[in-house]
């Protein structure tokens, strides 16, 4: 089975107030990170099946200068094996997509660009602490088409009072006007240790009520499906089946993936491991020829089952009926979930409905045994 490769670029020009990913606004560290990454690549040479997806994320990969970007991709293709039709995605910040950068990306063989648009509303963009305005967004998206990128994804954030449902649907329509192949709509989450998390705790940002969040979610799904998009995962929509993110689906299907760079996560066989969340520690480890791994776990069959259950019920592919067959009360649970309209059973698969997606964190819990 073909594996996925993820590269974590832990740099941003500035930190967004809602973001909990590992990234730092220190371009001076890029050279040592890059040296480290090149060494880490060598540690895994020949250990994974050929990759048929490569995803460069972060952070902000387009924050890297063209030389570093080119050097990085060259290094990967020199030392690791890729399938001929590899899905090759790079996350991009609209600000960075100049003609020159876009051309470079194109020249590197990147065939999918995921743009961190977040919103098409000037006020919302500034609330979210984004560096770009609507003008940069429009310009970047036009440019990508101009440079013949055939697979463009747009990332959006929604589900907060400062935007409102009307504003959000407006943003969605703006996104749709570009006919993107892929749209990710993430409901705003107040993560610990982020600026927004602290503001929420202090009561300075008031999150939506659960019923409002639900309404936003349902409206999103409805709206995009009306436009022909496939709601194939909680937060992800594809223009057609071929436009689903090949790479991201690996996360949800227990397909092996290798994550390189500080804080990146990997999965292979029954093992998960994750890298240290510090460039310094990361570089120290690879310098000594050691994998910069902070922790790892080998999943038991029970744990694999739990993951399959919960990840599967987050996607429109659902789970096989067999996944829950061994549970004594599964028939009863299943029929009550069907009656409540939360799942459907189609061709031996349990598939969550739109309402089911909305409570996807609870669906696996229903199958757990009480006494």
């Amino acid at each position: 089975m073909s594996s996925g490769l993820y590269i974590h670029v832990p740099f941003c020009r500035s930190k967004c107030p809602y973001c909990a990913f590992y990234s730092i606004p220190s371009p001076s560290l890029i050279p040592i990170w890059f040296d480290g990454l090149k060494k880490e690549v060598l540690l895994y040479k020949g250990q994974f099946d050929p990759f048929d997806s490569l995803y460069v994320g972060g952070g902000t990969p387009t924050f890297l200068d063209n030389r570093t970007l080119t050097g990085l991709i060259d290094h990967l293709f020199t030392h690791l094996d890729f399938a001929p039709d590899t899905e090759f995605t790079v996350e991009a910040n609209p600000c960075d997509l100049t003609d020159e950068k876009t051309e470079t990306l194109r020249g590197l063989g990147i065939n999918r660009i995921n743009v961190g648009v977040q919103s098409f509303d000037e006020h919302v963009l500034s609330f979210l602490g984004r560096r770009h305005g609507v003008r940069e967004v429009n310009g970047a998206l036009d440019r990508l088409r101009r440079f013949r990128f055939k697979n463009v994804g747009i990332d959006l954030i929604y589900g907060f009072r400062e935007q409102g449902l009307k504003g959000w649907l407006n943003t969605l329509d703006n996104a749709l006007s570009f006919q993107p192949e892929h749209i990710s709509c993430y409901q705003l989450t107040f993560e610990k240790k982020t600026v927004f998390g602290r503001l929420r705790d202090k009561g300075q940002i008031e999150p939506l009520m659960e019923s409002e969040e639900a309404a936003h979610f349902l409206a999103t799904s409805q709206h995009l499906e009306n436009k022909g998009y496939i709601h194939y995962e909680i937060s992800n929509f594809a223009k057609d089946d071929l436009c689903r993110s090949r790479h991201n689906q690996k996360y949800w299907r227990h397909i092996p993936y290798l994550g390189l760079g500080p804080s990146a996560h990997s999965f292979h066989g029954k093992k998960r491991w994750w890298n240290v969340r510090s460039i310094k520690k990361y570089c120290n480890a690879v310098e000594k020829g050691r994998p910069p791994v902070e922790g790892c776990e080998t999943l038991t069959d029970e744990q694999l089952w739990l993951e399959a259950l919960s990840l599967g019920l987050r996607t429109s592919s659902g789970i096989d009926l067999g996944t829950v067959n061994s549970i004594p009360q599964s028939k009863m649970v299943l029929s009550s979930l069907q009656t409540s309209g939360l799942v459907k059973v189609i061709d031996g698969k349990i598939i969550p409905t739109r309402e089911g997606f909305l409570v996807a964190d609870q669906l696996p819990v229903c199958f757990f045994e009480g006494v």
Binding site: I234, S235, L306, E307, M332, L358, Q362
Partner: protein, 611 residues
């Protein structure tokens, strides 16, 4: 540490024995002082020392409380060079164990009354003082925590003088934490506590003040000898039931047991005599010699009867066998717990248990879970009711599930207590209100010291078993102390309150209540269950009903949205860990129909808003 040579024959006579206890309001430093006395007398090397050294049980150390009485014998040479044997008897500090405390105090001649230099005299200080005075003990006031910057020694001395009526000049100043004044405390014990006035000759009279179970030696009885002596090989007789045993070993408690040739009048120590379980002994019973028995047992013996009842079920019915074993083992060391088989439609096979009070109940619950690794559900506690039926039959019911058919009930009776509540005068209004709300009658007031008031009330036991004490502490800001005696059964208008979950009766949640209190109780139960039961994917209707009439209801709204937005690399492990927790949690829930009810809900139904 004093070397053995300096100690001049410590066993020479009763004149050199001092039996004492430390009494104090909670957190005034009782355990720390005990620790320090043990350290200063050199019984334990500093490197072997740990805090709260007398509290062996995990639960005692964790909660900072003492549950079982414990004795320790300390060698001490005073400033004049006289050698003493000091027996410290550590006592529990809760009203549930007041009988055990009374037996421990009966084994002493004096007490250290410990008062916090910052907090001053508090309710428990007074209650303890009265208990000590009842046993005619020498009382040595000790002011602790004098090292604290906010210590107000003058004010505390005045309280000792005025509130306690003791001579504040005799109060010893110490800081158990810093170790200052500890020798003064020891000197005062030797100088002020009288030696035991026991009779060396004469038949054996030993008061049992505690018993605990040792897996290798059987029951270890802690006792105080008032007359005669006992040695290994003697045949002893327990005066309560006449059972006889051959003594295998006697000795005193150091940090470990220290065997001796014999125990004599005035001494405190242990007897091992092949008594299998702790339940074969009774605290407060008198041990005598079979061939030369005492004419009468020592006074004050009471058989401790349970006053609070609740059912215990294994969370998973497969674990019933294991629960049986755990209870049998538990019982080896806790004679006060009684239990018998029980079953419930909702919860399956289990046991009906009787407890001394709610703290006792909580302790049993916690120890079964922690030390015996049981997952249990405990139902809400009740008392024992009596019913006279129309056919003349009399029935006793301590489980709402066995409430008789209402049409057959001629008369219903419930147990009453006489409660004594000691408070500073300013809380009188709040406490009166609390007692009246709990159906208190026949109030009476005493004024033991200026500014203090003792309120006496007849109260239905059912009204105090659950959270009366917590509420009292809340309304009196911790200054209220409470004690009670069971007095009698009185006629009462009792009915059964059923709880329904999505239309299905849950027998384990039923309660027997007074008619007037039925609606508030039902509302409370619905409210509590709403708080305790997590949301589900469907709506849950909770109803309180009497007969077929619904008198209260609440609704648990279903989840509208519960979904994690992002689930990529690292999110997956985090998500799975949460699921593992949820899976484990659900295993500890009881399914009633398709509703999962957490264990806590079964006890929480009674918990009122204050406290």
């Amino acid at each position: 540490m004093k070397s053995e040579k300096q100690v001049q024959n410590p066993e020479s006579s009763m004149q050199n024995i001092r039996n004492f206890s430390i009494i104090a309001h909670i957190d005034h430093g009782k355990s720390t002082l005990a620790d320090r006395l043990i350290q200063v007398t050199g019984l334990v090397e500093d490197r072997d020392f740990r805090d709260q050294i007398l509290d062996n049980m995990e639960i005692e150390r964790e909660r900072g409380i003492t549950i079982k009485s414990q004795a320790i014998t300390l060698p001490y040479v005073n400033r004049k060079g006289q050698a003493f044997v000091l027996n410290l008897i550590d006592t529990p500090g809760h009203v549930d164990f007041s009988y055990e405390v009374s037996r421990a105090l009966a084994s002493c001649e004096g007490v250290l009354l410990l008062v916090d230099a910052v907090q001053g005299v508090e309710a428990q200080t007074l209650a303890n003082l009265y208990a000590a005075m009842e046993h005619d003990l020498e009382i040595i006031p000790v002011i602790n925590k004098i090292d604290l910057p906010s210590a107000d020694i003058d004010r505390v001395k005045e309280q000792i003088e005025v509130d306690l009526g003791l001579d504040s000049d005799l109060a010893i100043l110490c800081s158990a934490k810093e170790g200052t004044g500890i020798e003064d405390v020891l000197e005062a014990i030797t100088n002020q506590v009288p030696p035991p006035s026991s009779v060396a000759e004469g038949p054996l009279e030993a008061l049992i003040f505690d018993a605990h179970y040792d897996p290798f030696r059987g029951t270890i009885v802690s006792c105080r000898l008032f007359s005669g002596s006992v040695r290994s090989g003697d045949i002893i007789r327990l005066m309560y039931n006449g059972a006889t045993y051959k003594v295998e070993e006697v000795g005193v408690f150091r940090l470990e047991r220290e065997p001796k040739n014999r125990l004599s009048a005035g001494e405190v120590g242990y007897i091992i005599s092949g008594i299998k379980t702790v339940s074969d002994t009774r605290i407060g019973d008198t041990i005598t010699l079979d061939h030369d028995p005492a004419p009468a047992p020592l006074p004050g013996f009471k058989e401790v009867k349970p006053v609070v009842f609740a059912s215990v079920y294994p969370v998973a019915s497969d674990d019933y066998r294991s629960l049986v074993e755990a209870l049998d083992k538990y019982k080896l060391n806790d004679a006060a717990l009684i239990f018998q088989k029980d079953s419930s439609a909702a919860l399956g096979l289990g046991f009906r248990c009787g407890f001394l009070g709610l703290l006792h109940l909580e302790i049993v619950q916690e120890r079964l879970e922690r030390e015996f690794d049981q997952s249990i559900i405990m139902t809400s506690p009740t008392v024992q009711y009596r019913f006279t039926l129309t056919n003349g039959e009399e029935v006793t019911v301590d489980n709402p599930a066995y409430y008789p058919d209402p049409v057959t009930i001629e008369q219903a009776f419930e147990p009453y207590i006489r409660a004594s509540i000691l408070i500073p005068e300013r809380y009188m209004g709040a406490v009166m209100e609390l007692c009246l709300e709990r159906r208190g009658v026949n109030s009476q007031f005493n004024y033991p010291t200026p500014g203090r008031i003792e309120i006496l009330f007849d109260l239905p036991l059912a009204e105090v078993v659950y959270d009366f004490y917590d509420n009292l502490k809340t309304v009196t800001q911790g200054y209220g102390s409470f004690d009670y005696d069971l007095i009698d059964y009185r006629e009462s208008d009792l009915i059964k309150l059923d709880i329904l979950m999505n239309g299905e009766k849950v027998d384990a949640l039923a309660q027997i209540v007074h008619r007037e209190g039925a609606r508030p109780r039902a509302l409370l139960a619905c409210k509590r269950l709403k708080e305790e039961i997590p949301r589900h994917l469907f709506k849950i209707a909770i109803q309180g009903a009497i007969g077929g009439t619904i008198i209260a209801r609440s609704t648990i709204t279903p989840f509208r949205k519960d979904v994690t937005a992002k689930c990529y690399g690292g999110d997956i492990t985090r998500k799975r860990k949460l699921l593992e927790k949820q899976k484990k949690g659900k295993k500890r829930m009881k399914m009633v129909g398709s509703v999962s009810i957490p264990q806590s809900a079964f006890v929480a139904v009674l918990k009122s808003d204050i406290g």
